[in-house]
């Protein structure tokens, strides 16, 4: 099996290596992304220097030996090597003895390659054609308006002529006597039965609506406040598939899921300074927009992007809290997310699709209790084993629900 894989790999790699200059850039890009991108960027300093145009700065032979075994060069006191080592806080670059000179050439070809400026033509014809269609609609409109006006005028004229003819022939046309209809409300007032029906209907509907109004007080389902930093769960949890509990790690152990501290963000964002993912132009979520939001994080955490250091000048982010239970309710994330293994999405909804985070569930007591009545206890957890055995026998069920174990007692959540 392994051999087949290797063969496949060689088969895939062979053409890319052997084929000419153009293929080099593609192969170089792949190599760069897998090996270098963790510490280097093309046009920006990261852990290591920016690599765009690096082959012009250094001799090619020097680069070969530096990439293959830079540590040795620093040891040997190569002036260029030592200089760069000193510049970057004496951080040693990983050695790549496995690289062949050709592979290094490919990488350098990629770093030297400047993509051609994006083409901004071919729009005119389309614009013209669309203008044309607009024009024809307008013409049709104007023409039809004119036709209809003429028709109306003609009808009036016909009527006048007919009246004249009638007068001339002595036919008297009397205007119809207006029937004095009683207004509806008077009718209702006079009819006791109708009155009763209306009052009852009014009372019932107002009770219905006021009940509905009152019951939604304090329920913030759908609450999606504007946050100080536009943090997109869709990008992080959706596109990048980051586990919820990577950032909300205290959900495993604590009652709070925890808003991640900014140092957690910087685990990745020390290296990811620009947004290069998909854009949502309709809502104005361009790459620039997202990149600006990342810069907001840098300001907050005090990260000097230029020099790749923390300045210590921090501005803690004041997030707007979305999910908020009243003080008299005790809720523990660890009990649900860790012990009961409830998926985060069960209560928080499709977070990985939320560009703006909102409250998915009503978070009402009825909602909690419904779930407690339906969910089963994890009988494989040794803590529950004994009581599960005894109680399930007593109640004559296979699986015990949380409610049967006392999970809807008042003081389980209110103390």
């Amino acid at each position: 099996m392994l051999q087949i894989k290797r063969l496949l790999l060689v088969a895939l790699l062979l053409p890319s290596i052997s084929i000419s200059q153009e293929a080099d850039i593609q192969a170089g890009k792949n190599l760069f992304n897998t090996n270098c991108a963790a510490c280097h960027q093309l046009n920006r300093k990261a852990v290591g220097p920016a690599l765009s145009g690096v082959s012009e700065k250094y001799d090619k032979e020097w680069l070969y030996s530096w990439i293959k075994n830079g540590t040795q060069m620093i040891k040997d006191g190569d002036p260029q090597a030592v200089a760069i080592w000193e510049e970057y806080n004496r951080a040693v670059m990983t050695n790549y003895p496995q690289f062949s000179n050709e592979q290094i050439d490919n990488i350098l070809a990629y770093t030297d390659y400047t993509p051609p400026p994006p083409v901004t033509t071919v729009l005119d014809t389309a614009q013209v054609s669309s203008q044309g269609s607009d024009l024809s609609i307008n013409i049709i409109l104007v023409v039809s308006i004119v036709i209809f006006t003429i028709l109306i005028v003609m009808l009036f004229l016909v009527q006048r002529t007919l009246l004249k003819i009638a007068n001339a022939s002595g036919v008297k046309i009397e205007p119809e006597p207006k029937k004095r209809l009683k207004p509806l409300w008077k009718l209702v007032i006079e009819n006791q039965f109708l009155m009763f029906i209306v009052v009852v209907a009014f009372l019932l509907s107002s009770a219905y609506f006021s009940y509905g109004y009152l019951m939604q007080i304090g329920i913030d389902q759908g609450y999606a406040p504007i946050q100080p930093i536009h943090y997109s769960h869709k990008i992080h949890a959706g596109a990048n598939q980051i586990e919820c509990k990577y950032c909300h790690s205290s959900a495993r152990v604590s009652k709070h899921s925890g808003i991640p501290a900014l140092n957690v963000c910087m685990n990745c964002h020390e290296y990811i300074a620009d947004y290069n993912g998909e854009e949502d132009l309709e809502n104005g979520y361009t790459k620039d927009f997202y990149t600006k939001e990342i810069k907001k994080l840098y300001t907050a955490v005090g990260w000097d992007e230029e020099n790749q250091v923390y300045t210590g000048n921090t501005q803690p982010v004041k997030w707007v809290r979305i999910h908020n239970l009243p003080d008299f309710v005790y809720f523990n994330h660890a009990q649900h997310a860790q012990v009961a293994k409830v998926e985060c999405q069960t209560c928080h909804g499709p977070v990985e699709e939320m560009e703006i985070m909102y409250q998915y569930s009503p978070l009402t007591m009825g909602w909690c209790i419904d779930c407690h009545r339906e969910s089963n206890v994890d009988k494989n957890n040794e803590y529950y084993q004994k009581v599960h055995d005894e109680l399930s026998k007593k109640y004559g069920v296979e699986e015990l629900t949380v409610a049967q174990l006392g999970g809807i007692e008042c003081a389980k959540c209110h103390y």
Binding site: I217, G218, D220, P225, S250, V253, S254, K255, H256, G258, I259, P260, A261, L262, N263, V264, A300, V301, G302, T314, P316, V317, K318, W319, V320, R321, N324, P326, D327, F328, Y330, N332, A334, Q335, Q338, V339, N381, E382, Y383, Y384, K386, V387, E390, L391, K394, L405, G406, E409, C410, A411, K412, H414, Y415
Partner: protein, 1018 residues
């Protein structure tokens, strides 16, 4: 001629000049009618009330419709150890000059919120009410926020350089400066002070303990050549003879009750024996209340008692004045008991003269007492009365030009404090290290703001070879600097106090153990016992003459709650009921029935039950004070007691400013003084939370027996099953037939029980404060307590016997027959006897399985859990108070007001600082709801969750409540009775188990253990 009858409406009209008549000529009414809010008339009428009520209801409804926007601010860089919602514990040490203990501090989100004893430490690991409450003292709004110079705020840099300049000048002029400090018991601090004195040779260090232990220290020094106190382990003694030593309280630094309690329960392991505790004393103390026999004697007699015991043990004849037959008999009993127990006996004394203390040491040596430990003596107090008196003399004579005080408040605690303050004020140089701008700080030029001990570093040697460390549990709240750090700065050291401690420990103290491990543990024991050589000392057997009849002995004592008074602005401690008198928010003169009657002094209850008491003028040749009186059963006639620690006025809110300052009478640092009493005008209003002092012979609440009966008789004799009448047939209350409820099967899952052992509980009240801290119990203030609206979830009832013993009461009641006899007996039983037996009973919610409160709640706000808790859903409660009315144990507490964020109740919950002590896992209850003990459900839930997270069963001993955790005496055992191996099940199935008011069939989950007394009859 017309004659007109004139009718007068009243005599006033005859007086033509009358104002009333004049005004009535013009107006219909004499006074302006109160209409609206005209002019200065601010009284609102009924219509206004309705308007306001209507408006505010509408406004509240409208406001309620919109949820507030809540901001959440996470850490920028989250400390590795801190997880929001998970508590961290730090081992540290309290040593505030009065309390000394190794403790564990629970912190949540970086805020210390709860203190418990560090049980891994092998000595000095107990907590008490003051230590438990000390966490709140850190969040005191009256704390200094930075250093001050002549009342102006100043930076630390300028402060230090200014102090340095002053000190250098004084040094060059060779003017004497005294460094007056508390007892630090800290090896590193001692080193720093020595270095400081080396640099500034004009400085003399004097140690001052507000409550002096000087005589005991002098005696030990005379006997063994080291300034220390003997240590005692009461678990090793079968006979404890205490002569005026309140060792269950804070005698010689406390920490003794846990040893005492270990030997108080007869069981198979100790062959059904228990220790015998005989107490001779004048005031009714906590130790006396718990003694098997308590003997009343006046102070001069106590001294004779001690001497008499000493001579008898040496088989010599005692030549002192006669003690009288009553005392003679008990001295004989004491001597017999000591002889019988041999080295298992111990004698201790709190008499504050050197001779008596030396005699105590001699006696314990003579009987070779096991409990008596001089190999590792206590070093916690160092103060010397002589030095202080000398310092004050020098201050008066002008020999001292500068004074540095640290950790003390002499302007409050010295007997001649006013004079001292004036002298301090006039001094050329005065520097006060203080947490608050207290009496002493106000009279000092420099005030150095110091951190609370929970924000500080420190090291201690409480006993020889027993070292302790304290570490900060929170970043300092204010711009404060430790005393030691300032000294280091003054001697131009580059090191911080922390560096010094670490260096000192590494080089001089630690042998084998690492610094990190010691810091984590909070202690280090070198087990190097010191050897002390006996110095021959000449005992003198002086006796003070017996007093005349019109003078009384005033005995100053310290209360369990406030101690020496350094925490007197702590609302928890102010509202803490004294274990003996049950009075809160006050100190008072305790007086015997006999003397009260002679002086026509009274205690009486007013119509709402609150207690009032007469005032007296207390005076001797130097001082006089007007004090209220509490008539105290057990107070020796001819003596009165008054507690220190009250009457502090500065750096605290007006509400806390209660009681009188008894330090005024603390001349020469002697506890006993001759005083005269005269009745004064007026009555004092007390806030006493217990209105009834005796049990009236009811044996369903407190059950007790004698050791002899317990050993020899069957359980049915001393703890019979309660019988109730069904169809005129006596039936056991445990029988199903008499139960009006259907039983719920509780054999699965957890079932919590709390057992309270009346034999071990000494009423110290540490649990009351622990409950305060854990459950956010509000403080309601003196006025509300007076109206019986106290909020404590657990109270410790104290009952006196009316006869000689509590069992005597039961007997007296049982033996009455006929209405007339019954009535007179009942009346007699209401009055506590002159020297009563005392019993303490902690009472919290009983969590009845058949709870009367649950059935009467109209909204089902209180219901029963399958794990045994009687649950209270505050958000459901509408405040009918039916449940409280139907509770036979009276343990439910109603929130009459909003006690948090309400200026009317300006205590800890009304300021942002005090609110930091709130436990985030427990709700802060609002106005109009009932609350009560929840059996610390937040703690049991946490233990369960921890087990679930780890996928294991709960281990025995894991389940705890705040009260059981704080009980050093192990009087409270909590756990799951469905766990077949648990200690609680073993205790519950024991013979001593009974339930309070069992006959009413409530089936409580809080159970009690019958009290056994080892009293000896003479």
């Amino acid at each position: 001629m017309e004659k007109k009858n004139i009718y007068w409406k009243g005599f006033e009209e005859l007086n033509k000049e009358s104002e009333i008549v004049k005004s009535l000529e013009q107006n219909e009414f004499v006074e302006k009618l109160p209409v609206g809010n005209e002019g200065e008339n601010k009284n609102h009428n009924r219509r206004d009330f309705l308007k306001y009520a209507g408006f505010s209801t509408a406004a509240a409804a409208v406001v309620g419709c919109e949820g507030p926007v809540i901001k959440s601010v996470p850490y920028v860089v989250q400390p590795e150890q801190i997880i929001p919602g998970i508590a961290n514990y730090y081992a540290t040490t309290i040593a505030d000059g009065y309390d000394f203990s190794s403790i564990l501090v629970k912190t949540k989100a970086g805020r210390p919120i709860f203190i418990k004893g560090n049980k891994d430490a092998k000595s000095m690991n107990c907590t008490n009410a003051r230590i438990n409450a000390s966490v709140l003292s850190m969040y005191d709004v009256f704390r200094l926020q930075g250093p001050k110079l002549s009342g102006e705020n100043i930076s630390w840099k300028n402060f230090n350089s200014s102090v340095k300049a002053d000190l250098s000048r004084l040094l060059s002029e060779n003017k004497k400066v005294v460094l007056l400090t508390q007892s630090f018991a800290s090896p590193t601090t001692e080193k720093i002070i020595n270095n400081f004195i080396q640099k500034y040779s004009n400085i003399q260090h004097v140690v001052y303990d507000a409550v002096s232990n000087s005589s005991a220290l002098d005696a030990f020094e005379n006997s063994y050549g080291k300034r220390a106190l003997a240590d005692y382990d009461f678990s090793l003694s079968n006979t404890i003879i205490s002569i005026d030593a309140d060792f269950m309280n804070d005698w010689q630094g406390g920490n003794y009750s846990s040893g005492w309690s270990k030997n108080r329960v007869p069981n198979e392991d100790n062959n059904f024996t228990m220790s015998y505790h005989l107490q001779f004393e004048s005031n009714m103390t906590l130790s006396g209340a718990n003694a098997d026999n308590r003997v009343m004697a006046r102070p001069h007699q106590l001294k004779q008692v001690l001497q008499s015991i000493y001579f008898s043990l040496r088989n010599q004849k005692y030549n002192g004045p006669s003690l009288g037959s009553y005392l003679d008999r008990y001295v004989k009993l004491a001597v017999e008991s000591i002889k019988k127990s041999g080295n298992k006996a111990v004698v201790i004394s709190g008499l504050d003269d050197v001779d008596s203390q030396e005699i105590v040491l001699m006696i314990n040596e003579l009987i070779n007492s096991d409990a008596f430990n001089i190999k590792s003596p206590k070093l916690i107090f160092q103060g010397s009365d002589k030095d202080i008196l000398n310092t004050i003399k020098e201050l008066k004579s002008g020999k001292i030009s500068g004074l540095i005080t640290a950790g003390i408040n002499p302007s409050y605690t010295l007997p001649n404090s006013d004079e001292f303050s004036q002298l301090l004020n006039k001094l050329e140089f005065s520097l006060c290290f203080s947490m608050k701008e207290d009496e002493t700080a106000q009279n000092s030029k420099y005030i150095a703001a110091t951190p609370h001990y929970l924000e500080s570093w420190g090291d201690y040697e409480f006993k020889s070879g027993n070292y302790y460390l304290s570490q900060p549990t929170i970043k300092p709240l204010f711009d404060t600097n430790q005393f030691q750090d300032v000294l280091l700065d003054l001697i131009d050291s580059q090191n911080s106090f922390y560096d010094e401690i670490k260096n000192n420990w590494r080089t001089n103290i630690l042998k084998g153990k690492t610094w990190g491990k010691s810091l984590q543990d909070g202690y280090y024991y070198s087990y190097d016992n010191i050897s002390l050589n006996r110095i021959k000392s000449n005992l003198t057997f002086s006796n003070s003459p017996s007093s005349n009849d019109d003078t009384l002995d005033l005995i100053l004592y310290t209360k369990t709650g406030l101690g020496d008074g350094q925490q007197s602005s702590n609302p928890w401690l102010q509202e803490f009921p004294d274990p003996i008198t049950r009075v809160t928010w006050d100190n008072y003169l305790t007086i015997s029935y006999e003397d009260a009657e002679r002086l026509d002094l009274k205690n009486y209850n007013v119509s709402n039950g609150a207690l009032n008491g007469s005032y007296v003028n207390l005076s001797n040749e130097n001082h006089s004070l007007k004090v209220p009186v509490i008539i105290q059963p057990g107070q020796t006639p001819g003596t009165v007691g008054l507690s220190l620690g009250y009457g502090k006025t500065q750096a605290m809110s007006e509400e806390m400013n209660v009681g009188v300052n008894a330090y005024r009478f603390y001349d020469d640092f002697k506890r006993v003084h001759k005083v005269k009493l005269t009745k004064a005008e007026g009555d004092h209003e007390f806030a006493c939370i217990q209105l009834h002092n005796t049990m009236m012979g009811r044996d369903e609440i407190i059950k007790e027996t004698s050791l002899k009966e317990f050993v020899e008789e069957d359980k049915s004799v001393w703890n019979p099953t309660v019988m109730v009448s069904k169809n005129h047939i006596e039936t056991m209350v445990t029988s199903k037939e008499v139960d009006i409820w259907r039983e719920f099967d509780r054999s699965t899952g957890h079932h919590f029980n709390l057992s309270i052992d009346l034999n071990k509980c000494n009423g110290c009240g540490a649990c009351v404060i622990a409950c305060h801290a854990e459950n956010n119990v509000p403080v309601v203030g003196k006025e509300e307590v007076r109206k019986s609206r106290d909020m404590h979830w657990i109270r410790i009832d104290r009952y006196y016997s009316s006869q000689d013993t509590i069992r005597g009461d039961v007997k007296a009641k049982d033996e009455t027959s006929g209405y007339r006899e019954y009535r007179s007996t009942q009346t007699n039983l209401e009055k506590a006897s002159a020297n009563p037996q005392v019993v303490f009973q902690p009472v919290s919610c009983m969590h009845c399985n058949h709870a009367p409160c649950e059935t009467v709640c109209p909204v089902a706000a209180t219901s029963h859990g399958r794990e045994g808790q009687n649950q209270m859903a505050y958000n459901r409660c509408v405040g009918t108070r039916y449940c409280a009315n139907n509770c036979p144990y009276k343990v439910r507490r109603f929130n009459w007001f909003q006690y948090s964020e309400n200026d009317e109740f300006d205590y800890n919950m009304n300021n942002p600082l005090g609110k930091m002590a709130i436990n985030p896992d427990v709700n802060v209850r609002s106005r109009g709801v009932m609350e009560k003990c929840s059996l610390c459900i937040q703690m049991t839930q946490k233990v369960k969750l921890d087990a679930k997270k780890e996928g294991r069963r709960v281990r025995d001993g894991e389940f705890k409540t705040a009260c059981s955790e704080s009980c050093d005496d192990n009087a409270m055992v909590f756990g799951d009775i469905n766990d077949k191996e648990s200690e609680i099940l073993r205790v519950k199935d024991g013979d001593r188990t009974y339930r309070v008011l069992e006959s009413i069939g409530t089936k409580p989950n809080v159970i009690y253990q019958v009290k056994i007394r080892n009293s000896k009859k003479i």
